[in-house]
């Protein structure tokens, strides 16, 4: 898999072990200081201290929502007599996103060490790594790495001679995008369909089997060992005021150098695409770019002029940073077909629980399909916008918004192209 790092002085937090020979093996990981931060946590930090340290680092959840990690941990009640669970969300499935897969396959011990720390912070004694079912190779590497960590005494009973016990289970999903949503993931882990649950109550109090549970993304957890080793202040010194540290970006589509990049938060978007990723190949022009995975609104070239890659700046531009899945489209791309492709994804993946999403996603897919194939009516465009508006905010989980937002953005930002398809009764881009 392709992975690039920027030249210059930026400290590598998440990609620091990528490219090291046998980076997936315990010996390589410990030779580079791995599991020493975990020892330091167990031997010298109370759970509350660890939570405070991570709060001070400013680390925010990298699964897409950007919620502060330390705060999420602090919602777990200390006096609840039920068991507590920590779940690593390794169910990466967002279109255009392949950063977690890189870490899972090449640096599984960083994920395990981060998972140990998060479990310790909430005083959980059972942790799960829920890995996407299709990632068979990655799951094997995770399973082997967990075995190695058990054998070395980093997981198990009386870790480092303390009173702290933890078991870790690698659990494979079975093919369902929705299981990346944390309550759907918990339903799946309970042995059922991956159906999201109404919040509140939140998983922090009523999660797996009704017990207090925290779900953290792979990238979030993999940042923890570095934060403990170098200190919260060193992490918080990177990035912007509200978006601290570094983040992984998966770049795909019409781009000279696709791959996974680690950037300090706040890096200029246009510079990143043109200089670091080599720009749109073959001298073609940029037509649009999705900044945060398939769920996020597309941006036109003029909209990224002064955008920086951090949560606030991308939001101000009218989209969201999401998973950091950057999908680049050049001038030859048919935006109607692109919109249909994304709509088809959501029609296929809707779990079917809430009617606005179950019905609406299929309607949008059918309408985009007929516009693209020269059978559309002008009123179809407003009908899609109407359906999108009726899904938005009216479903149990954020999947509905994730289907509604890109559909509306494609039409609003490339309306001329949609209208030309309707008028000429054919795809006007592909002919």
């Amino acid at each position: 898999m392709l992975c690039w790092t920027l030249k210059g002085k930026m400290e590598k937090v998440l990609l620091r072990n990528i490219g090291v020979p046998d980076s997936h093996r315990l010996a390589a990981y410990t030779s580079r200081g791995g599991y020493a931060p975990w020892r330091a946590v167990v031997e010298s930090m109370r759970p509350e201290q660890l939570i405070e340290e991570v709060k001070a680092s400013g680390l925010r959840g990298r699964g897409g929502a950007g919620f502060p990690t330390g705060m999420k941990w602090s919602f777990v009640p200390k006096d609840n007599p039920k068991p507590k669970y920590l779940v690593c969300n390794a169910d990466e499935s967002e279109p255009g996103t392949f950063k977690d897969r890189l870490l899972i396959e090449q640096d599984p011990h960083a994920i395990i060490e981060g998972t140990l720390m998060a479990a310790y912070a909430i005083q959980s004694h059972t942790a799960f790594i829920y890995v996407r079912g299709e990632l068979a190779f990655g799951a094997t590497r995770l399973e082997r790495a967990v075995e190695e960590a058990y054998e070395a005494g980093y997981i198990g009973k009386k870790i480092f001679g303390s009173d702290y016990d933890l078991d870790m289970i690698v659990h494979r999903g079975a093919g369902a995008y929705i299981c990346g949503e944390e309550t759907a993931l918990l339903s799946s882990l309970e042995g059922g369909r991956g159906w999201p649950k109404v919040k509140p109550p939140f998983p922090a109090t009523h999660g797996l089997f009704g017990c207090p549970t925290v779900v953290n993304n792979v990238e979030t957890l993999a940042a923890l060992p570095w934060i403990i080793e170098h200190g919260a202040a060193a992490y918080a010194a990177m990035g912007t005021e509200k978006s601290k540290g570094t983040k992984l970006f998966s770049v795909s589509g019409h781009i000279a150098r696709p791959g996974v990049y680690e950037l300090e938060m706040g890096y200029p978007f246009k510079k990143f695409l043109e200089e670091d990723c080599g720009g749109v190949p073959d001298g073609k022009k940029l037509k649009g770019v999705i900044p945060g995975g398939g769920s996020m609104p597309v941006l036109r070239p003029e909209e990224i002029e002064n955008v920086n890659l951090d949560y606030e700046s991308v939001q101000a531009a009218g989209s969201l940073l999401g998973s950091g899945g950057v999908i680049v489209m050049d001038e030859t791309t048919c935006m109607v077909r692109a919109a249909w492709n994304i709509a088809r994804f959501y029609a296929h993946e809707s779990c079917g629980q809430c009617s606005p999403c179950r019905e609406g996603c299929h309607w949008m897919e059918k309408l985009f399909h007929r516009v693209e194939h020269g059978e559309g009516d002008k009123s179809d465009l407003d009908l899609i916008l109407n359906i999108s508006g009726n899904i938005m905010g009216n479903t149990i989980c954020p999947f509905g918004d994730a289907a509604a937002m890109p559909a509306a953005a494609f039409i609003k930002k490339y309306r001329d192209e949609f209208e030309a398809h309707v008028k000429d009764r054919k795809c006007t881009v592909r002919g």
């Binding site: 898999m1 392709l2 068991p83 990466e92 499935s93 967002e94 279109p95 255009g96 996103t97 392949f98 977690d100 897969r101 059972t126 996407r132 079912g133 299709e134 990632l135 068979a136 190779f137 289970i169 659990h171 494979r172 999903g173 079975a174 093919g175 369902a176 995008y177 799946s188 882990l189 309970e190 042995g191 059922g192 369909r193 991956g194 089997f209 998966s250 770049v251 795909s252 589509g253 019409h254 696709p258 791959g259 996974v260 999705i290 398939g294 899945g325 999908i327 489209m329 791309t333 077909r337 692109a338 492709n341 994304i342 088809r344 994804f345 296929h348 993946e349 779990c351």
Partner: protein
């Protein structure tokens, strides 16, 4: 054909269930085990797993039909799953799919008469930087070209 686990599979079943804090959490790994044993998860297999797990068959059926990786019908020895989502589509996935359809003479969702290949179109497999791509059984094949696909199909018996 009696649908029942071999003694070795029953031993694996016991090990899997013992790993989880509650038995029902072992549902997906037990279904994987059953699919490995029986080839696919038809009605008898679902009834058998329901009995082992102490759950109604309807619930197990609901789980099996929810996830794309559980096959309710027999599939070919090589399950070709071509990613059709946007980054792969931008990289030419439609052309790759057309080549495979033509070479195998089947449409997505179908199996070749000799039982060698099943063709499926699937959604994003987290390999967008190396598009277009496909997964055959557990293995990823990335940066596909028409020539590469021809070679891969030829090499699979």
């Amino acid at each position: 054909m009696a649908v029942e686990f071999s003694p070795e599979a029953l031993e694996k079943f016991t090990d899997i269930v013992a790993r989880y804090p509650r038995k029902e959490a072992a549902m997906l790994p037990v279904l994987y085990l059953a699919q490995g044993e029986f080839g696919h998860l038809g009605p008898e297999a679902i009834d058998y797993v329901a009995k082992l797990m102490g759950q109604p068959p309807a619930r197990v059926h609901g789980v099996v039909s929810f996830y794309t990786m559980f096959n309710m019908k027999p599939i070919g020895r090589h399950h070709i799953q071509i990613c059709r989502t946007l980054p792969c589509a931008l990289g030419g996935a439609e052309k790759i799919t057309a080549v495979i359809r033509q070479r195998l003479g089947v449409e997505p969702g179908e199996t070749t008469p000799d039982g060698r290949f099943t063709l499926s179109e699937v959604e994003c497999l987290a390999s967008c930087g190396t598009a277009p791509m496909m997964q055959i059984n557990d293995d990823y094949y990335e940066n596909l070209t028409e020539e590469k696909v021809a070679e891969i199909l030829h090499s699979l018996k």
